[in-house]
């Protein structure tokens, strides 16, 4: 009956925790549906907002910003709900009782948030193109916008995970997350939006805006994710 314990490697812990999140999502599909529908609704709001502008407004210039507005608010919704399962039955304490490095919890939860956000983006970005960019002709290499999308999503979901861990047990939690998230994520948002707009417009100087912006966004990701990794142990066991 006696049980032999062999402390698993960090990577195994990471895989187990990630599989738990993914299994839960496959069963309930709660995160993806709610974020997907929410993104669709934001698109509809954009449509209403820009409907009356006829041709006066050059959609090319604006669409980069619109796309990132959509992503910020969708990720805010997703991040707010990312800890629901943990809080519901006190499972977070169950995980904290396990002898593992707390930052692995951060890595696993950040990865699952990134994957959910990317899954939603795979649906909504083509829809965004369909709704807004078919009327105008974007620059020929506009498909490169996948790069800022990827860098931006990793950054937002990563730092967002740390912030949602903080706000999950404060009162007024969804307002609190937005209040913290938007100013802190501003540099990444600014860099990605500039890169995306530059690439969509495709004007002649686009490339020497696109690459520095992308590089800076990646730099932001690295610094902030490392910082979140270091600070996570304090936050989760507070």
């Amino acid at each position: 009956m006696s049980v032999v314990l062999k402390t698993p490697s960090t990577f195994q812990q990471y895989k187990t925790l990630l599989r738990k999140d993914l299994e839960q999502e496959f069963r309930t599909k709660e995160m993806i549906t709610s974020m997907g529908i929410y993104a669709l609704l934001v698109l509809v709001v954009f449509g209403a907002a820009l409907g009356q502008t006829t041709q006066a407004l050059d959609l090319l210039q604006v669409s980069g910003g619109l796309l990132w507005t959509l992503i910020v608010f969708t990720s805010l919704l997703g991040l707010n709900r990312s800890f629901n399962h943990e809080k519901e039955q006190g499972c977070l304490e169950g995980i904290l009782l396990v002898p593992l490095d707390r930052s692995v919890i951060f890595l696993a939860k950040a990865t699952s948030n990134i994957l959910f956000l990317l899954a939603v983006e795979v649906i909504t970005v083509p829809l965004f193109y369909f709704f807004f960019l078919t009327a105008v002709t974007p620059g020929e290499s506009f498909w490169l916008l996948v790069l800022p999308l990827l860098v931006g999503t990793i950054g937002m979901a990563g730092i967002g995970t740390l912030l949602s861990t903080i706000t999950v047990n404060t009162r007024g939690k969804d307002v609190m997350l937005a209040v913290l998230f938007v100013p802190i994520i501003f540099p990444l948002l600014f860099a990605c939006a500039s890169a995306t707009t530059a690439i969509i417009v495709g004007a002649e100087g686009a490339m020497d805006v696109f690459y520095p912006a992308l590089l800076l966004a990646a730099g932001y990701d690295v610094i902030m994710l490392l910082l979140s990794w270091v600070l996570y142990d304090f936050v989760i066991s507070a």
Binding site: I166, N169, L180, I184, F190, A198, D208, L227, F234, A238
Partner: protein, 257 residues
């Protein structure tokens, strides 16, 4: 500094820094007023756009461009901005100390430092915005410096909103320490990113060319004045908060037995 030998140390105010807090505020006030006067009387005006026509002889110098008064705001704008960053750095330092030692005293230091940073950021925004209003004729442009201070102000406001939303002292101080460290890392990145991405819409007007001797002197005086003022206000506020905590602790003690 705090002697924790007592079984449960009551929160107490600072020791030697408090004595000089009052003098610091005084010295700061005096120096800033001197700086104010120097800005207008001593420092030479800065040349604005060049004037088409013959240069004129004014005060022993050949002047060939518009003389700018608006540049005078700079003498207070730059020191105030530096102090707000300095206060943020202090808050970050105390937050790290708090996370290492979990001593509530450092949490109070960080909170007060953040307050000072907020006050000075508000001042920076006022002076910066008015300068923009005159210089570029618009109330707001997404100019790198102004956006960075806006983000700094928003993060500090978020810091205080977060503090307001949590009641448990221990959890509140841990979360605020983490947010303040993130702010300390995030704001310089924001300054860098907004400045380095060539925003196609609006060329960044960088006018702070070389500073002549007298201008440097004025900025120096204002700078020292502002730092002293900031430090003095910090100590004053810190003493007030600690005293309030001490009163509260005494009340609890009295209720108990």
């Amino acid at each position: 500094m705090a002697n924790a030998k007592k079984s449960h140390a009551l929160p107490e105010g600072g020791q030697w820094p408090d004595a000089i807090a009052f003098w610091a505020v005084l010295a700061g006030a005096v120096l800033t007023t001197i700086g104010f006067l120097m800005a207008f009387l001593y420092a030479g005006p800065v040349n604005g756009a060049s004037v088409d026509g013959m240069p004129e002889m004014i005060g022993g110098q050949m002047v060939s461009s518009k003389l700018l008064l608006s540049q005078k705001i700079f003498y207070f704008h730059m020191p105030v901005a530096i102090v707000s960053f300095g206060a943020l750095a202090f808050a970050g330092y105390y937050s790290v100390r708090f996370l290492m030692t979990k001593n509530q005293r450092y949490d109070t230091c960080a909170k007060v430092a953040m307050e000072i940073s907020l006050i000075f950021v508000v001042c920076t925004m006022i002076t910066g915005d008015l300068w923009t209003r005159f210089e570029w004729g618009v109330w707001w442009t997404w100019d790198p410096r102004l956006t960075t201070y806006l983000i700094l102000m928003l993060i500090i406001i978020a810091y205080f909103v977060l503090r307001g939303f949590i009641d448990e002292p221990e959890r509140r101080s841990i979360y605020s320490a983490v947010v303040s460290i993130i702010a300390l890392v995030d704001v310089p990145i924001c300054l860098m990113i907004t400045r380095m991405i060539p925003s196609s819409i609006h060329p960044v007007v960088l006018r702070e060319g070389g500073m002549t001797g007298d201008m440097g002197m004025t900025v120096g005086v204002c700078m020292i004045g502002m730092i002293l003022l900031g430090f003095g206000m910090y100590r004053l506020r810190f003493r007030q908060v600690r005293l309030a905590q001490r009163v509260q602790a005494l009340k609890d003690e009295l209720e108990e037995n």
